[in-house]
Amino acid sequence: MRALAFALLISAAAGPALAQDLRPSGKLLLTGGVSTVEGSGGGGLSTWATTTGYGEAAGIGANLHATKVELSDFSLTTYGAAVGIFDRVELSYARQYFDTQAAGAALGLGQGFTFGQDVYGVKVVVAGDAIFDQDRWLPQIAVGAQLKKSDQGAIVRAVGAEDDTGVDYYVAATKLLLDRSLLLNGTLRYTEANQFGLLGFGGREGASLQFEGSAAYLLSKRLAVGAEYRTKPDNLAFAGEDAALDIFAAYAVNKHLSVTAAYVDLGDIATFKDQRGLYLSLQAGF
């Protein structure tokens, strides 16, 4: 059922893309956002309705990203790639490593035990133009899905998750208020992922509707600062899960390289309190 819905979304994505002819497109610096830890285009933690890349090669833009988050007791590393097609469709992949460091020993998993996850994403813009529709209230709206697969099935089930695979479905709305140099985003996500899926899917309850919001102020062509907030399910009996938030600065060196630095607060993770720290992400693309 899940796999079918995902396949449907991919074919819906390919439809409009193929119908358009191969013409170049263009975007201004930072207007496509950066890469989230889940590989999709957006802020650092929240997925936006924009598609990734500057689309300079026949309307197709692509990028690679690497992100490191150093928390009080854990560290998260992600690598990923994303392709944006005709400003309409985005396909993404991210590989996440969640290193439990010394906490792994305390949790009985072993020092440096690492949870890994693959995230495959598809996003389709269904309405609006976040950048050019400056005379309308309608935001750019996109729907998408992320298929996530944990590589620690036995462990995530042992800690109370129901499954090692899950699909997040989301609707994102992004609006650039250019006359105020402000970019706003709101996303509704239907998910059963525990800690983004790193601790499996489901548990006490199934999927639920979660919210993520971002606001970014553009200080210059190259520099944006902002904040994000993302709620998450709380489905594992052994440890409470909190909302995530961050404050960030994104700097575009040029159209091919951008750097994002943030201070993130992921709350309690796996009984370890107040997981906060620095987030650093590099993105290279065209």
């Binding site: 497109s25 263009g26 975007k27 529709d133 250019l178 006359d179």
Partner: protein, 156 residues
């Protein structure tokens, strides 16, 4: 003398010396394609009409020189383009100007413009505004007025 008079007569009333004749049309501020911002402050921030003239001239010159868009301007009357574009920006920034050019749809008809061409032009405009030391937030207020014109300028 007679020929000079004929050329002058053939030109629309607002044309400056050096402009080519264009097919007749009704001049109106509605042709500018955007309503003016409120208040004079932004116009002053742009350095008044002289500042806008410099920004427009630099933007047009850079667009003509840019290999991405140079072909599009091959047959263009650049004297007229600079005059009308400057009037348009002045009008939109609530300066003491009337826009006397053609509407955006007519002016860009059959040019096959793409988003990439518009992005290139906006990039040159941003550089020109930087040179005139227009603050970024003020630049974005002008860009917010120009952005929706994409719908009539760019062909899909």
């Amino acid at each position: 003398m007679f020929i000079a008079l004929l050329i002058m007569l053939a030109q629309p009333p607002h044309a400056v010396p050096g402009e080519e004749a264009v097919a007749p049309y009704a001049a109106s501020n509605a042709n500018a394609g955007a309503s003016p911002v409120s208040g004079r402050a932004l116009f002053q921030t742009f350095g008044g009409k002289a500042g806008i003239d410099r920004i427009v001239a630099a933007t047009v010159d850079a667009s003509v020189a840019d290999p991405r868009t140079s072909d599009i301007f091959k047959a263009t009357d650049l004297v007229r383009l600079k005059r009308t574009l400057s009037e348009q920006v002045c009008f939109i920034l609530a300066g003491p100007c009337d826009y006397t050019g053609r509407d955006m749809k007519t002016a860009h008809r059959d040019m096959g413009l793409q988003t990439e061409d518009l992005t290139a032009l906006i990039e040159h405009l941003q550089v020109a505004m930087d040179i005139e030391r227009v603050p970024f937030a003020a630049q974005n207020k002008l860009l917010a007025k120009l952005a929706p014109m994409k719908r009539v300028i760019v062909e899909r």
